[in-house]
């Protein structure tokens, strides 16, 4: 379980707090989504949790361990972080990239052993991308890259998987594919998955729990169907929406001015 307790953060030399008293918890086998519009502070929150930035107040506990007291190495065995943008300087093969996930278990003066190779191969198989093994990583599609990074995170064998906007550069099909994989991995491998998203529909489709954030404050948290309502979304995103139900799934769509719909723009006047 990940516990975030009363987190406060601001950049050095600046007065305004970017995170204001953020507290929430996430659970094992569940996908928790930090949802908010651009500039809401969700990326900042993510960076505080992964340890890139240090909050000036509050604590982050992973299974009861205070994260900010751990070294990078100890932290890497607890958190597997999947970065948002990823362009290696050299054309590594997919397998090289996945094997890098074993870094926390390889000594400073040694190379991965046969066990590490096996774990990396297993991770590729679990994600169904073993056929990409020897392809150059920079030549595969965006969706495949995300799956490779998921495989790397899996090879890292950390109980927590943290992903910053894993779908922001993906097309419709791959958004669904990647989030389904994450949810499935969390459930089957007993991981705690924490994902930041800006799309309320994706969050509502996949999240077990949503942490809704705006201006560095938590506005609501809980199951999607409990907290996402038309009023709240309008308040957070500044867009009027309607929520419709279909087969037990909820779809959020924006209410546009009638003049915009199905008419060419010049006909509007």
């Amino acid at each position: 379980m990940l516990e975030i307790k009363e987190l406060w953060f601001k950049h050095k030399g600046q007065k305004e707090d970017i995170l204001k008293n953020v507290s929430f918890t996430t659970e094992k086998r569940r996908l928790t989504v930090i949802l908010g519009p651009n500039g809401s502070g969700k990326s900042t929150l993510f960076k505080c949790i992964t340890g890139i930035w240090k909050p000036y107040k509050g604590s982050i506990l992973a299974d009861g361990k205070e994260i900010n007291k751990l070294s990078h190495l100890e932290r890497a065995k607890i958190f597997a972080v999947v970065p948002q943008e990823h362009e290696p300087a050299f054309p590594y093969s997919v397998f090289d990239i996945v094997l890098i996930g074993r870094a926390p278990y390889v000594g400073l003066f040694s190379s991965p052993n046969s066990k590490d190779y096996k774990k990396a191969e297993q991770a590729l198989q679990i994600l169904g991308i073993y056929h990409l093994r020897d392809k150059p990583y920079n030549k595969i599609s965006g969706g495949e890259k995300q799956l490779v990074l998921l495989a790397r995170a899996l090879a890292q064998e950390a109980p927590f998987m943290l992903l910053d906007e894993p779908t922001s550069n993906l097309d419709f099909k791959n958004q669904i594919k990647v989030l389904s994989k994450i949810k499935k991995l969390a459930y089957e491998k007993g991981l705690t998955a924490l994902v930041t998203l800006h799309d309320p529909n994706l969050a509502s489709l996949f999240a077990d729990k949503i942490i809704l954030i705006k201006n560095g404050k938590i506005v609501a948290e809980g199951k999607p169907e409990k907290i996402l309502n038309e009023k709240l979304i309008e308040k957070i995103y500044g867009v009027k929406v309607r929520i419709v139900q279909n087969n037990g799934f909820r779809l959020i769509f924006p209410i546009l001015e009638t003049s915009c719909i199905n008419k060419p723009l010049e006909a509007q006047k």
Binding site: A76, A89, F90, D96, A103, P104, V106, L108, F109, P112
Partner: protein
């Protein structure tokens, strides 16, 4: 296929080294070369002392071995620098390390003949790379173009200092410094070979064991940290050791540029970017390349052309080719 190429790269220094031994102003039979060397090592043939033997053992062999060691040192540190700076366009020469080492050597030869030339070369090479690093470092990350520019600046600075030394030093020493600065193996003997070998061993052995880390360190700093790597510490270790190898190499044969840029690229194109394989094969390919360049430099004319000229003649067009091929990406972020 890849394995075949790797085997070729591993054995290339032996083959090219053998060719280098029988080529030259005094032609020696290729089989005789093997015989002489086997005799020297195992004392099997009971050969009598001859002109051929003296040329091979006292002149050509130390020269070929020295070229090999220097080639391995320069191209090995090229791999390290390209990896940790995530920048395929750098090498010890471009980052000013060679110029720093050259200044250390020049002041030792010129003014402090009792000091250790290798130690001074090492100290000033470290100073140079530290300057380049901190000039290029903005907001935590080191971008490609600023790194190359600051290398140019630091290199120019130390070359200016070398010029001051040349200006002030007495004419006898000046000649030695000028000749040595052009980069040449013509003064190779078993004594310089020992020094270069020791420097290369101390500098490259720790890097050899850390070579897989270069895969991790070549990711962004944030990402490497999230994988449990102490980025600053590991970068420092790798820079210090590879600088030691470069400084020793420079102290025995002067400034030889571009090889640390070209060889890692050629090897990467052949067998891929995985540093676990790339690093050792760059050592052997660097050795082969340098022996080849040196052999060309001493056989192409009746004079012994400084080998630095040969590597620059091939290296500069190669750099341009990389830039054109990489397009925008090469200049990148």
């Amino acid at each position: 296929m890849k394995n075949l190429k790797a085997i070729f790269l591993i054995f290339s220094p032996l083959v090219i080294g053998w060719i280098a031994l029988f080529l030259g102003a005094y032609k020696v039979n290729p089989l005789m070369v093997l015989k002489i060397i086997l005799n020297e090592v195992f004392h099997v043939f009971n050969l009598r002392d001859s002109a051929e033997k003296a040329i091979i053992i006292d002149i050509r062999l130390p020269r070929v071995l020295l070229a090999g060691i220097v080639g391995a040192s320069l191209s090995g540190s090229g791999v390290v620098l390209q990896g940790i700076f995530r920048n395929p366009l750098v090498d010890p020469f471009i980052l000013g390390i060679s110029a720093g080492a050259a200044f250390g050597c020049a002041i030792t030869v010129g003014f402090f003949p009792h000091w250790s030339i290798q130690l001074n070369a090492f100290i000033f090479a470290l100073l140079a790379v530290a300057l380049t690093y901190f000039i290029a470092r903005t907001q935590g990350e080191i971008s490609r173009l600023p790194l190359i520019l600051s290398g140019v600046i630091v290199s120019a600075f130390f070359q200016a200092l070398v010029s001051i030394v040349k200006f002030l030093v007495d004419p006898h020493k000046l000649q030695a410094i000028v000749f040595w600065l052009m980069g040449s193996f013509s003064l190779a003997d078993w004594q310089t070979l020992k020094i270069a070998g020791l420097g290369a061993l101390i500098g490259l052995l720790p890097v050899y064991f850390m070579r897989w880390r270069l895969n991790v360190l070549s990711l962004s700093e944030e990402e490497a940290k999230s994988l449990g790597v102490n980025v600053k510490r590991e970068r420092l270790i790798l820079i210090v050791f590879s600088t030691l190898a470069v400084a020793t190499a420079t102290s025995v044969c002067g400034i030889i540029g571009w090889i640390g840029l070209m060889v890692p690229h050629l090897v990467r194109m052949t067998i891929g970017p995985d540093h676990k394989v790339l690093f050792p094969l760059s050592l052997t390919a660097g050795a082969a390349f340098m022996i080849l360049a040196d052999t060309i430099s001493r056989t192409i004319t009746n004079f012994d052309i400084p080998v630095g000229i040969i590597t620059a003649l091939t290296g500069a067009p190669f750099f341009l080719y990389l830039l054109k091929k990489g397009g925008k990406e090469a200049w990148g972020k």
